[in-house]
Symmetry: C2
DNA sequence: AAAATTGCTATCGTTTTAGTAGTAATAATT
DNA sequence: AATTATTACTACTAAAACGATAGCAATTTT
């Protein structure tokens, strides 16, 4: 899994990894909607093509943002879970949500998302705790 | 300036605008490095092609994230400045910096950036205040 | 045993990106 | 005043990425 980086800037380096139209949406599906399988993510509103989803999951896995495993009771489904590193993207996802909620309404219909008036750090903690609780139920 | 949106999700909508490898870097150059002209942004470490920079600046302007103007004393240079909407991307830029600083060092050389241990909201305020002060000196 | 589901890969036309060259207008230099 | 340099682009083409669809193997369900 090769990748080259444009510069030594932390922002540019992160963009070299996740700077496309799909990667953060996959992370969103996992963090917020607790999606865990190829099928669940495929079924999102935005309609990602399987070839793209496949490539992105591989990339995210190669950078240890997600892990891929099978559960003993199902040999068909792969379960994708966020690592701590991946779950640490929550703050970015929250900031995207807040900015999009505030400024994109003039250009597009935007869903109302409850709880956006909560303190940011509490939002981030809540999301991360919910995710970890979900992981505990399946492993 | 046409653009279509994939869904009514605020995150997806923001990604439809800024979800590429360059837009946020341009915003970073403006917010952090106080770059204001086509030339200054062109000269960044990452080496953006002029055709791409031109297209992105037009897009950012069309969504009122930046403005374009000339100063009376120079009829050649265009001055690009962030609007309040654009400056509100500071929190996202800060979160990118923090995540990149924390997790990208194992994959790439990452510059040390002073002040990353400061409280997030103070970082954001400081950056925004510095930017506004800079704008005041030239307008 | 047959049908459906899941998790992909393959293919291919279209779109986007990247790199380079070139140009017009202004500004600086000689 | 004439030449040179700078700025802000646009134009062009090659390369890469994307997007939609089809297809397939391994399971699971019926």
């Amino acid at each position: 899994m090769k990748k080259s980086f444009r510069s030594s800037c932390p922002i540019a380096s992160l963009l070299d990894l996740l700077g496309d139209k799909w990667s953060l949406l996959i992370v969103r599906d996992m963090i917020i909607k607790h999606k865990k399988t190829f099928k669940e993510i495929s079924d999102s509103d935005e309609g990602i093509a399987p070839s793209i989803l496949s490539a992105r999951l591989k990339l995210l896995e190669s950078y240890a943002i997600i892990t891929k495993r099978k559960l003993p009771e199902n040999k068909k489904e792969n379960i994708y879970l966020l690592t701590d590193k991946g779950l640490d993207l929550t703050a970015i996802v929250v900031e995207y949500t807040l900015w999009g909620d505030k400024y994109m309404r003039e250009h597009n219909t935007i869903d109302d998302i409850p709880g956006l008036d909560t303190d940011k750090s509490i939002m981030v903690d809540t999301i991360q705790n919910n995710y970890r609780a979900m992981v505990r139920t399946i492993c």
